[in-house]
Symmetry: C2
Subunit: 454 residues, 2 copies
């Protein structure tokens, strides 16, 4: 067994936690993996030096290290490993905004919402907005290349990461990129570490690009008789305009949400589209009218628009409520499959068939403009058969997405939960290529083993 005392000797007094109750609370992340292991210890790093000391020790002792931000992974990216160490960045939360260079330099444990707030205080905007932005860490966002609702116009996390400090498996800290808006000196290493899910290194600092504060947005909500028609409208909308949000809810998610929020959503609609325009000035109204025309041309039955930001935000909150609203139907498995936009209806229809075949409740919300869907599967964890049906459905949804030229994960990451499906998507040659890079950077295999590469 690894000698934790030699590790503790290199770290601040309370950094190494072995209290069984506290350690147990780090076993799982939001994926609630029942097979999660119990780490030997949790290290709550306070600095880059702490992370370096932990990785040097772990390399020497060959102890697996699970990097963890806020533990909000939905794919088991920070699931505990039996005998490993969970390395938490929750105490590393500094945020410094430089309004002249227009960047934020942040530590990985800072929450996404805190980064947004610090930027906003100086009149700037950090766009990436996972639905979990109030509880997820910016380090986890970078590790998974997180997305969100605004991606359809503003891109994903990687588009905002200008540089980072990252600690490699052997404890070496390197600086990649920096506060330069264009920089092609050397390989795109910053981009390689973004989305690497803690398997290549531990991010200890990020330099993020900020945008000017966006103008107020106008909002449109449109009900469609079928998902097919809504998807046709999505294609038509994105061919001509750049909405700042373009979300879809299927009938099941509309009803699950309406049960809770009681906003008067059309319970009979086959699908609902929720779109935003943040074009400046009067252009927002013009853009919203173009979106309305595309919706009506493709069979929208009811279209509501508002330029009141609070009213618009209420619909976004309703859309974000799909996940908690489904929780009263059981424990949830949150899918994250994506397809080329034209395949959305086939995907959603197929998911309905999978749900029926397995007698399992699945509703779908989607970042429709990106083709990225979140089928939400509810099951009873105390019922072995229900759990098994949910797990089968979970796998079949990924198989379906792959058969449509899609991806098993659009923004949550592969983690542990989806690692068994990765080869089906990438193929053996790309898996081998991935393995070559992993081996080159983490020859002992101590960094988040079992994540991405099963």
């Amino acid at each position: 067994m690894a000698d934790l005392r030699t590790l503790a000797a290199e770290l601040p007094a309370d950094a190494v936690v072995t209290d069984p109750d506290i350690v147990a609370s780090y076993r799982q992340d939001w994926a609630r993996d029942p097979d999660a292991g119990t780490p030997l210890a949790v290290v709550r790093a306070t600095s880059t030096a702490d992370v370096q000391a932990t990785l040097r020790w772990a390399s020497r002792e060959r102890v697996p290290v699970v990097p963890r931000g806020a533990g909000s992974s939905l794919s088991g990216g920070s699931t505990g490993i039996e005998g490993g160490v969970t390395l938490s960045t929750e105490r590393m939360r500094d945020i410094a905004v430089d309004p002249v260079t227009r960047v934020a330099v942040v530590q990985p444990g800072a929450l996404n919402a805190a980064v947004k707030a610090a930027a906003a205080e100086q009149g700037f905007w950090y766009p990436p907005d996972p639905s979990s932005f109030e509880i997820c860490s910016i380090g986890g966002n970078a590790a998974t290349n997180a997305g969100g609702l605004c991606c359809v116009k503003y891109g994903v996390t990687t588009d905002y990461v200008l540089g980072m400090e990252v600690v490699l498996a052997d404890g070496t800290a390197v600086r990649l990129g920096g506060p330069r808006l264009k920089d092609v000196a050397g390989l795109s290493l910053t981009k390689l570490f973004v989305g690497s899910e803690g398997t290549l290194g531990v991010i200890t600092e990020l330099t993020l690009r900020l945008l000017p504060a966006p103008p107020a947005a106008a909002t449109l909500v449109a009900g469609f008789p079928t998902v097919e028609l809504a998807a046709d409208a999505v294609v038509a909308i994105t061919a001509g305009t750049r909405p700042a949000m373009l979300e879809l809810m299927d009938n099941g998610s509309i009803n699950a949400v309406e049960d809770v929020v009681k906003m008067g959503l059309d319970r009979d609609a086959g699908a609902l589209l929720l779109a935003r325009s943040d074009a400046p000035g009067t252009a927002a109204a013009v853009e919203i009218e173009a979106i309305r025309a595309a919706c009506e041309k493709h069979g929208a039955q009811e279209v509501f628009t508002t330029d009141d930001p609070d009213e618009g935000e209420a619909f976004t909150v309703a859309r974000r409520a799909a996940f908690p609203a489904m929780e009263r139907f059981g424990t949830l498995l949150l899918e994250d499959v994506g397809v080329p936009v034209p395949e959305l209806p086939t995907l959603v229809r197929g998911i309905g068939e999978i749900a029926a075949a397995h007698d399992t409740r699945i509703v779908v919300v989607a970042h429709a403009g990106d083709g990225n869907t979140h089928p939400i599967i509810a099951y009873d964890p105390n019922d072995v058969a229900s759990t098994e049906r949910a797990r089968l459905a979970f796998g079949e949804v990924m198989d379906l997405a792959l058969s449509l030229g899609g991806t098993i994960t659009g923004e949550h990451g592969v983690g542990r939960l989806k690692a068994p499906w990765l080869a089906d998507q990438l193929g053996d040659d790309v898996m081998a290529l991935t393995r070559r890079i992993k081996d080159a950077l983490d020859p002992e295999g101590i960094l988040n083993p079992g994540v991405v590469l099963a």
Copy 2:
């Protein structure tokens, strides 16, 4: 000596070119490296299979391979290697636009302008716009992560590459990514190959994201007494608005261009800013007025605006003319250094001092909104002293950029010309990390040796 006959036997009849005159024309790219080698042969691939056959053969025979698109590299990224093979993609020019999925699938030899035109034909837009867009290949754009004038709002090439087919050193062809707007399944390999300058693989196909056609742009031209004031205006402009272009010309480049285009540019101005707004509808006028206010607040002496697209384009053409306009002063070395935007004035002032110290003409144009500058150095290649002074200045400009927290290359790539400076920017640890990835993917070192890693 490597056996070209076994290679020729695997390729179309005229694919392997050994005619000395033709081969000689592939020795240099636009960097005109006097130390360029003469390749054994040029392979003009017609397909992925041709590229695979060439790399299999080269791996077996340990022959260096220099991938080449249109040969417009300004940093020697496709400079010939003595005894190597130059692998040209110029015959691979297919372009297929899918208007429903909103992507273009293109072969690497297609010119950037041809991709733009094919997209425009279907009402779409491929944004990245290197000044050389009419003569540079899309494969070269991906290999260097090329930028351009619109990057300040619309990002660089990597932001538009959704997927690729790439042939690895051993001849294996792999597909990375695809027509999915969000996809985080596995490591960000697509992003790693973008910007790798042919050192990790040869790109044989790209799947590119398209945007809706942009609205017509309004243009502003402002003259400032000093570069300092213009840079202050750049910071103020980008704090509040997102111009679609924000270029700077220093006094030397204004005069060099005005000599040729005779547009009435203010020859006495210390700097000129050229900005564009493509905000939709009346928002463009609002944005241009905000830019004007920022310019006037920071000492602009003369501000001209137009919403006539042709008139606006004439100024952009003038800005692009800086490079040819300087050619009458000698052979050119085109720099590409970047700094954080607030350091622009110090950089430009320092470049003036370097020019004076070496009695060498250097003018500066810049993608000012990104802090990416192109100092253009003119020298007489027939005058040994002039050539030596230019080379010294070239290096000192990079040293200066690095001392200001900048980069030796913002968008052209490291190539051969800048490889000796890369370690000064990245440091030994990042160089070692780079080397580990290079060795993992190209163990024989056949792919563009001497580029990026000297």
